[in-house]
């Protein structure tokens, strides 16, 4: 444990309003803390600059159960992966969320980790983000100035940079169920089955009309760019086309414009590129 705790303190607000006031009073110097499964890894490694933690654990508004409103599923900030993977309706209608939750870390991490925390941590390898992107997720941000909603697809602006203002808190994340009969595709490629940071991760949703032509497609990729993102060029390229070899080729050609994988300690640029292409092929298989 490489941090000197005297350099840190923890505020434990009892209400959301109290939390927002604290954030407003010291914008930029507070670090919201949910399940701590990312932040405490940094704390343990001595890689966290001194900060004031803002523990969200005691805030009832954020600890409410996830809820459904017709075809939209809203997860308050403290919703854990465990809660999501055992929600029968999620498993049925938002299966990519359940798949991602089941493959994230291990049970001990799923029991504490939160979707909001995963978004806030803004790693390019964030496993929670691609499935949310595939479901057109919207992030709700709250501050003393009020609430606003940002499409998750617009939320990340650069490596570890987001649109969240220093006095804002992620309070809810909402996912949208696609049309009935849509294809849902998920594949996480890591070095082992569980407890793995992804080398490449893909979450996709695809809707077709009666003639088999793609009417709506979402393809979200992680670990292949500075941010987890929607492969917009691929989406554009295949919309309006039927699935088949020609469409897959078009998609693969477009993919190069969407991603920029790198060599790092976990994998290589070449491997990531190849696997990303394979995942796109699998997603678009007729």
């Amino acid at each position: 444990m490489r941090s000197h705790l005297e350099d840190f303190d923890v505020a434990c607000p009892k209400t959301l309003a109290e939390a927002l006031e604290l954030l407003a009073a010291k914008p930029g110097s507070m670090t919201p803390l949910a399940g701590a499964t990312d932040l405490f890894v940094l704390l343990n490694a001595g890689q966290l600059a001194p900060t004031h933690f803002l523990s969200l654990a005691g805030i009832p508004e954020l600890a409410m159960p996830a809820s459904w409103d017709e075809d939209r599923y809203t997860m308050p900030a403290l919703t854990t992966y465990t809660e999501t993977r055992h929600d029968a309706r999620v498993v049925a209608e938002l299966p990519l969320l359940a798949s991602a939750a089941c493959e994230l870390g291990a049970l001990q991490i799923q029991n504490r980790g939160t979707w909001a925390g995963n978004i806030a941590n803004s790693s390019p390898a964030a496993d929670g983000v691609p499935p949310l992107l595939a479901y057109d997720a919207v992030v709700e941000l709250a501050s003393v100035r009020g609430r606003r909603w940002i499409a998750l697809a617009d939320y990340f602006t650069g490596y570890k940079q987001t649109l969240r203002a220093p006095d804002e808190l992620i309070t809810n994340v909402t996912a949208q169920v696609p049309a009935a009969g849509a294809r849902h595709y998920w594949r996480k490629v890591g070095a082992r089955k569980l407890q793995a940071i992804s080398k490449v991760v893909a979450a996709g949703v695809l809707e077709r009309d009666v003639t088999g032509v793609v009417t709506r497609v979402r393809l979200a990729l992680g670990s292949v760019a500075p941010i987890p993102l929607r492969a917009r060029h691929v989406e554009l390229a295949v919309t309006g086309l039927p699935l088949g070899t020609a469409t897959t080729d078009v998609a693969l050609a477009a993919l190069a414009s969407d991603i920029a994988p790198i060599d790092d300690v976990r994998s290589t640029r070449d491997y990531r590129l190849r696997i990303a292409r394979n995942l796109v092929r699998a997603f678009l298989a007729p």
Binding site: M1, L5, L194
Partner: protein
Amino acid sequence: MKLTLMVNGARHEVDVHPARRLLDVVREDLGLTGAKEGCGEGECGACTVLIEGKPVMSCLVPVCQVEDKALTTIEGLASSEGALSRLQAEFADHGGAQCGICTPGMILAAEAWLQAPGSAENMAEALAGNLCRCTGYTKIFEAVEAARKDGEA
């Protein structure tokens, strides 16, 4: 910060830095050294404790977040007279423990799964957060399966 912790059914009043890791409070303030630090990253599971029956990595838990929640450490499994739980006995008898450093965390994770089998697809998934370098997992699986069957009998 003054906190009330419920550990293995007993109340403990502690006065500690709120960001202190639950692992350190349990080991150093409460003298329960069964939970171990193997990595500080939430990867090895040697620090596993149960919060309301659910396994967590205690090296990643700020103590201020678990006040008044029922916590279970390995020391809470044996009976007050020292009789081993069914799972503990199977581990000891079946070669589930070799060097023993992963054992407290592994047993807690296994116990949590036995109590809530639906919490994971299968045993292997339930234990994937607990690394063992000695056994290859074979005899761990055998011990847990034996305890599971004992429980059904």
